[in-house]
């Protein structure tokens, strides 16, 4: 049987505020346990939540970027369950009236575009952490993370493959970091994904029973976990078994998913509006003010790069992987006046080098101005692509401009017709066999001759000119 995969994803995006969602405690990561848990996070008797304005603003930013409805009246609700990392015994979240609803996010899988529906995004507080090691059978509770603001972004079950799921979470990741609402530090848990997976026989209308893989904090784990889960479900069904709705955890060591043993008897969360918090009311002026400050979004920028710089859609997608990268590219493209070359270099050499050194574009040793200088020398024929790479190497390890390196190392391409003609004549004289083969119709022989000329020029001869002059002389 052919199976169709159905995936929906919930992402917990930690918002990069200075203080917590409901108190003035710091959100900084990595402090000593419980030193950033105020009376509010510890749920002392009588303490009350007061909402952080920045959380609302950031939620609106994401809502606008997702082309979603911003609910101008939205309501916080209590989600009740007992867990030691949840000090109040309830999580303040949003249920019936979230701040953001009905959004959409465009993804690109290969060359194919698809729009994934975003059901909702709501504001809520993060829980603390339970540490299980080193306490003789006890767990240690650290509430520093409790109260960190989250946006839970819930997609429609619109994805039909792991590739689409990956494209969606990566697009969302790009967006939240692009908007500056999330620091994007996945290792610190700033972007955590729950993936709902089900399978159904191709052609069947109803969804299959889903299992939810909780709390994935890397794209690689998401890919591994979803693949494993899909295969497990298909195997189970093909063996005549049934998939039971469940929450599972992914174990990166074994590469398998397993059912969670705890969490809630029958999940009766008893949601109701939090009486400590009044409805959040957002006026249109506030939304418009935020809209006015919105940066150009990745989708719009991709289209513009294609139109303005003639780059391919695929390249534009890569170039808008982050705002810093896009800005870098755009500067290079504009200063050098060479959009396509700029795209090739940024997506090629620069990306490879950064990847090799584990660096971000912000740490790139070659700034946009220097790269533009290099590209200008390629465009005006001063450097062959081979020489350009040589200059690039030197630039990576120094602070010199392309021109300075060309000058210093004498790497200027030789385009002087007289000089090239002289070298071509010498090559023809020294390689009668190749000349004979070429004249007999063997086109490849010309390359051998050109290679000799390049060698004689120490790589500096303009390759196009060499070809041209060779052909002319042998004609």
């Amino acid at each position: 049987m052919k199976w169709e995969v159905v995936i929906g994803i919930e992402v917990h995006v930690q918002l990069n505020t200075a203080s917590k969602i409901f108190s003035g405690a710091s959100t900084a990561f990595g402090a000593a346990p419980n030193t950033q848990a105020s009376a509010v996070e510890l749920a002392f008797p009588g303490v009350l939540p007061v909402l952080n304005r920045a959380v609302v603003d950031k939620a609106i930013r994401l809502g606008l970027a997702l082309d979603a409805t911003i609910n101008q009246k939205n309501v916080f609700a209590r989600k009740n369950y007992f867990y030691p990392d949840l000090p109040k015994g309830y999580q303040i979240s949003q249920m019936e009236l979230p701040i953001v609803e009905h959004g959409k996010l465009k993804i690109l899988v290969g060359e194919e575009e698809k729009v994934i529906g975003v059901t909702r995004a709501h504001m809520e507080e993060d829980a603390g952490k339970s540490l299980h090691e080193d306490f003789q059978g006890l767990s240690g509770i650290d509430l520093n993370r409790a109260g960190t603001p989250l946006l839970e972004v819930v997609s429609e079950p619109d994805m039909r493959s792991v590739d689409e799921a990956l494209a969606y979470v990566k697009a969302l990741y790009t967006l939240v970091t692009w908007l500056g609402i999330c620091d994007g530090n996945m290792q610190e848990g700033s972007f955590r994904m729950d993936v709902n997976v089900s399978v159904r026989p191709e052609g069947q209308k109803e969804f299959g029973t889903r299992r939810e893989i909780k709390n994935l904090n890397s794209f690689r784990f998401l890919e591994q976990a979803a693949k494993y889960e899909i295969q497990w479900q298909i195997d189970t069904l093909e063996d005549g078994g049934k998939v039971q709705q469940a929450t599972v955890l992914f174990d990166p060591d074994s590469g398998e998913t397993r059912m969670m043993r705890s969490k809630e008897d029958a999940h009766d969360y008893r949601y109701f509006p939090d009486p400590d918090l009044l409805p959040v009311c957002i006026d249109s002026a506030q939304i418009e003010a935020i809209r006015a400050e919105m940066p150009e979004l990745p989708g719009a920028m991709q289209a513009r790069f294609v139109a303005e710089f003639g780059v391919s859609g695929y390249d534009a997608g890569l170039l808008t992987g982050s705002r810093a990268l896009a800005a870098y590219f755009e500067t290079v493209a504009k200063v050098s006046g060479q959009g396509k070359l700029a795209a090739n270099w940024v997506n090629g050499e620069i990306a490879a080098r950064l990847n090799r050194d584990g660096k971000e574009i912000g740490d790139c040793p070659i700034d946009a101005a220097r790269l533009s200088g290099l590209i200008a020398r390629i465009a005006d024929g001063t450097l062959s692509s081979k020489l350009a790479k040589q200059v690039f190497e030197a630039m990576w390890d120094s602070e010199l401009s392309a021109d300075a390196i060309i000058e210093r190392d004498g790497l200027k391409q030789v385009s002087d017709v007289g000089a090239i003609e002289k070298m071509v004549d010498e090559a023809i004289a020294a390689n009668p066999k190749a000349v004979e083969e070429f004249r007999a119709g063997k086109e490849k022989a010309l390359n051998a001759l050109a290679g000799q000329v390049m060698k004689a020029s120490k790589g500096k001869a303009n390759p196009a000119q060499v070809q041209e002059i060779l052909k002319h002389k042998l004609a």
């Binding site: 346990p33 030193t35 007061v50 339970s130 006890l138 767990s139 955890l249 705890s262």
Partner: protein, 95 residues
Amino acid sequence: MSLTHQDVARIAKLARIAVTDEEIVAVGAQLNNIFGLIEQMQAVDTDGIEPMAHPQDVSLRLRDDVVTESDRRAAFQAIAPQVENGLFLVPKVIE
């Protein structure tokens, strides 16, 4: 309506309150009396009435995103049942 003993046991479980079998019987009877009182509401037609969650019809006030709290762990944990290395200790949490 009437709460069964299973209902009472389920509620007690949700509320994380240990109850003995005898307590279930006694509490069940009291809860049923209370719900007898509460059931009066069902006779009232409330169609089209907007639920009132709050006495005042005002919107939420927001605070600026500023860190105002300092570390008071020592004072807060001085009254904690069990702590070690700055962590609150509880019986093992199983995920």
